[in-house]
């Protein structure tokens, strides 16, 4: 907690020195964006968490009126597709944690091609065709209740978790929470990635079934119940969410699994039919810039994807701590394999059988 506060302090000092380097004048799109005057964003990042980012962006470009629509991932997709088809105008900037839906939209020609000047500072795998951009670097963790689970009882890896479920099915009866891959796209994506990387994944699923694990559609509900002790452990929780919650609920903790830690990224693209494309470019550049990513990491507590942003809540920090165990879900059309219907339904069926539901 204290290091965080210190971080914020350091950050404020830094800001004062950083800001002159990145101003409205230096971005070549600024003049055209000023003419547009407006920017419409559809995003799944909730408004409270995005507030510092938007504030800083508005401070840079006070001439832009930003209309930020805080929607869930399905709503973003439904709205965007219907609005595009009706030709009545839609978002300029799409920013969602449904990686597969975003890539699907981009691959169907909905995204504007734009090479951001920040490209060189991003990992290669985070950029798809200069259209879809991974903007964050968020580790998928195991969240737990510190009050009820002693530190030495917390599984430190996926393999540990399998062992734990096998050894003590009674202790963990109905005490484990995870995503419902049938109802949550993000949950499905994580689990299919797990199944790819982790040979024991189906043992894990069976273990979850044997302990009567509960399945959820939102991270928030899971964290609330881990905090209260209704569950002691939640599997596949995005670390940034736990960080945000820790500010209020000290009993929440999380572990980044040592064998491998999936890294998930919120994907952004500029709509091809954007009415304010230059304003959208401006926002993309800002979001990927060192300044934007620093605000993201230190104020919004979302892991930064740039390796030159220092601190614990960053790609740099994660790579240092976990080394090769970091397994980013790459921003490309491989993700779309999960949308292939027969395979998808087969996975769901196997999951349900393992879970005995």
């Amino acid at each position: 907690m204290n290091s965080l506060r210190l971080g914020t302090l350091v950050f404020c000092v830094l800001m004062a020195s950083v800001s002159p380097g990145y101003t409205a004048e230096t971005n070549p799109n600024a003049a055209a964006a000023q003419k547009e005057g407006k920017l419409i964003i559809y995003s799944s990042t909730d408004s409270a968490s995005v507030e510092p980012i938007l504030q800083d962006f508005k401070a840079l470009y006070p001439f832009l009126q930003v209309e930020y629509n805080d929607l869930n991932t399905t709503e973003i997709y439904n709205r965007f597709t219907a609005e595009s088809a009706s030709g009545s105008g839609t978002a300029d900037f799409m920013w969602s944690s449904a990686m597969d839906l975003q890539i699907q939209l981009a691959s169907k020609g909905n995204a504007l091609t734009y090479a951001s000047p920040e490209n060189s500072s991003l990992p290669k795998w985070a950029i798809w065709q200069n259209q879809a951009y991974g903007t964050t670097f968020e580790p998928v963790s195991i969240a737990y209740n510190k009050r009820l689970l002693p530190a030495d009882a917390v599984p430190q890896s996926h393999a540990d978790l399998v062992k734990l479920l096998k050894a003590k099915p009674d202790v963990y009866k109905e005490k484990i929470a995870t995503f419902d891959p049938e109802k949550s796209g993000v949950g499905f994506l994580m689990m299919t990635q797990d199944a790819k990387v982790f040979p024991q994944f189906w043992d894990l699923a069976k273990g979850l079934g044997a302990t009567g694990a509960k399945v959820y559609t939102s991270t928030g509900a899971m964290l609330e119940k881990v905090g209260s002790g209704e569950h002691t452990l939640a599997y596949n929780i995005i670390g940034s969410y736990v960080l945000l919650r820790q500010k209020k609920d000290a009993s929440l903790g999380y572990v980044l699994p040592k064998d491998y830690t999936l890294v998930f990224s919120r994907i952004a693209f500029i709509s091809k039919s954007a009415r304010n494309p230059n304003a959208a470019k401006l926002f993309l550049d800002y979001l990927l810039s060192k300044r934007g990513q620093t605000v993201m990491s230190e104020k919004s507590l979302v892991y930064s994807i740039r390796s030159d942003v220092p601190g614990p809540i960053t790609a740099a920090g994660l790579n240092k701590d976990l080394g090769k165990a970091v397994k980013p879900i790459e921003v490309n059309t491989d993700i779309l394999a999960g949308l292939e219907q027969t395979k998808r339904l087969e996975f769901m069926k196997q999951w349900k059988e393992a879970l005995k539901r």
Partner: protein
Amino acid sequence: MNRTFRSFAVVTVALVVFGPLGLIIYQSFLSEAFFSPTARPSLGAYQYVLADSGFHSAFGTSLLVSFGMTVIAVPLGSLLAFLLVRTDLPWKKFLEPWLLVPIFLSPVVLAFGYVVAVGPVGFFSLWAKSLLGTIPWRLYSLYGLIVIAGLTHVPHSFLYVSSALRSLDPSVEEAARVAGAGPWRIAATVSLPLVLPSILFSSALIFLLGFELFGLPLVLGDPAGLLVLTTYLYKLTNLLGVPSYHLMAVVALSIVALTFPLVYAQRRMLRTAGRFAVIGGKGQAFRPLPLGAFRWPAVGIVLLWLLVTVLLPLIGVALRSVVSQWGEGINLAEVLTLDHFRELQNHPNLIRGIINTLLLGGIGGALSVGFYAIIGLAAHRWQSRWVSFLDYLVMLPRALPGLIVGLAFLWVFLFFKPIAPLRTTLFSLWIAYTVVWLAYGLRLISASLLQVKPELEEAARVIGAGQGKVYGDVTLPLIRFGLIGSWLLMFMMFVREYSTGVYLLGPGTEVIGSLIVSLWGTGALDLISALSVIEVVSVGLILFIALRLGVRLDA
């Protein structure tokens, strides 16, 4: 004039209902989204859904939940209505606003309140555990879901039955009392049978709401894999990766199909409407029936219901709003805080959300009632097949589950160009809400109209009043309780509604419901609880005042 008026009503209702519904029917016969260039006519969606065992079991569960809920809610609601409206039950004025809380409180919040109170680590459960060594109930079960759904829908039934009872001519009860009948006997053989239309209406509407339940089953049933139709529908948005509108449309239509037998049965039972006309010409002073020795046991029943249905979840929510942590191993006294209320102040758009919600509920609700009253009057004393057509028609919009009706309205406002400019205004939201709750607002009005004896209107006509004057001077004043009840219900429904307008909302048109859902996504249940406390207090205050005003009209 009458003819044009009536045709106008039928055509308008048909248009607003078939706009969204037609799109959904069309969508169900396609292979993908109707606006997709590659969409082809197909029966595939029907084949998939009707053959899916998940659909069968979800349909069965929904049927069971709806049935159980109606069986609990309607008798209890009718009984409460009789006690509060017709008898000398003590503390009536104080009890009534509390009774209505479950209607306007978001079901997700209500369910969460139960989790905090009687969930596996709820404060009440932990207390019971410390006394008994075990928790004697199980919140996350089909049984728990039915009981909670039933109890929380008691107010819906209460509202319908009580507004009919208020207009009841007291002389009939008086006659029974003079003949020696006790209060229970009067309720069972005189008062309640006379308001049978309202009881039947409310049964049908509550049964339909059972299929609509989403928040309660999502929170109470879903984690354990208990699927109802709406959560099955939710699954269909993700099952195939991208939302499968054609499959969702088929599921929605299966609920729509259910309304036909429902309305048919109701119409058959009400064939002789004249039997229920009890608002007569002679005014009589109303004297509440003395409950005698039953006075305090009756209060006991009401309080017990209030405790389980209102206080338990409300205490849960209120508690959550003032603690930073809760649950097993927490001493609540050590974690008390007002931070959540403070934090709410920084939340963007909060004030605007509250203002929009109250505008929509208060003024929007009143406008909707105006619209419903026009439809009600058009169908009033009209012997025509068009009336039965209307009866079926008005039920259809609410038969569409929230998840899909929201989409349907987005599509209507996007692809029907004349109204497209309204999409980003509160007006679009109001239209959508008015259409969806059509049956619910209209029923209260038409049930009151059934009670008006024809001779009053005829008398006015005989002395030369035109149709407009008859309605304005005679009919409408006579059904004022129905109108007020309808407005109250719409106010509360609009305050709580979210899914219908989810795609019509944007910056500037936020409502409390959308704030709650967006906070739910991030798990900010502390903030949701604080917001709900504010909502309960402010809406409760408005209701209290409204009920006072309503009562004054009585004198």
